[in-house]
Amino acid sequence: MRPEINKKIEETLNSLDGIRRAEPRPFFYTRLMGRLQRNEKTIWETMGSFMAKPVVVIASLCFILVFNAFMLLRQDATNSIQTQASNEQLATDNEYLLATNSSFDFENLDPQ
């Protein structure tokens, strides 16, 4: 390497010696506060961003599916109990219904 290039490299490498700290433009704090206020979210934005979280979406979906399945199973169970109850009711009704012909009526067609 030529000595003049070597010298130039050394000068360049040492060019940051004695560097002073750079300052931001005046009123940095005012601009920062403006940015902070722009960044502040309303209650609806906060709720929206919470609801849009994948964890919340998946959890809500699971809850709805489980709730639906539970309601469906519960309804089936209630229906079968109701059917059983109605059959028993029908049998009891038949027994006490006077207008219905019983075996006695068929065996004694002519009472005279």
Binding site: M1, I5, K8, I9, E11, T12, L13, S15, L16, G18, I19, R20, R21, A22, E23, P24, R25, F28, Y29, R31, L32, R35, L36, N39
Partner: protein
């Protein structure tokens, strides 16, 4: 004012404490960002982002390191993020231009002149900053923190969460690479 007290007050939502924190450390944060991104507007943007994060996540600061060290880490992370975003945009614009779509013309940034450099060294410093921009990330951060921000090797190691010997090694490699780049640059100029 005591650093810990200020942080505790900020954790309690004290706006005056936040103002004191900003006024105390704004030049440090700005200077670090400027050293990395080498652009005044971007550095201001990064400094603002840093303080917004400080305001929003001060509760996560446990006091295991100095407050200034924590600030340096946030600033560096924001500056590197900013650079990556910029590179992505450039790449995207290039791909778009390949498909013949209209996009912003990619221009090479002009020489960066740090406002804190002594006048008669400005030209050399601009050449050095151009060479620093081409260094690998870790070497660039170590070199900038030591040379531009004036941190000792010990302080650089705390900010970078590494050992002093690693910082020494990074600095050695950075200087070697810079020498090579500058040599090529000056040879081409002849």
């Amino acid at each position: 004012m005591d650093e810990r007290l200020l942080v505790e007050q900020l954790k309690g939502g004290d706006e005056a404490a936040f103002k004191t924190i900003v006024e105390t450390w704004q030049s440090m944060v700005y200077n670090t960002a400027l050293g990395i991104v080498q652009n005044a507007e971007d550095a201001e943007d990064i400094a603002q982002e840093t303080f917004v994060q400080v305001y929003q996540s001060v509760s996560s600061f446990k006091g295991e390191s100095k407050f200034s060290t924590w600030l340096y880490r946030i600033t560096i992370a924001k500056a590197l993020d900013h650079e990556r975003r910029k590179k992505r945009k450039k790449r995207f614009a290039f791909v778009k231009s390949l498909f013949g779509e209209e996009s912003e013309v990619v221009v090479h940034p002009p020489d960066f002149h740090h406002p804190g450099v002594i006048l008669d060294k400005k030209e050399n410093a601009a050449e050095l900053f151009a060479a620093i921009a081409g260094l690998p990330e870790n070497q660039r951060i170590a070199f900038t923190l030591h040379k531009v921000d004036g941190l000792s090797y010990q302080e650089v190691s705390e900010v970078m969460e590494t050992s002093v010997s690693s910082v020494e090694s990074l600095m050695h490699r950075a200087k070697t690479n810079l020498r090579k780049k500058l040599e090529d640059y000056y040879k081409d100029m002849k």
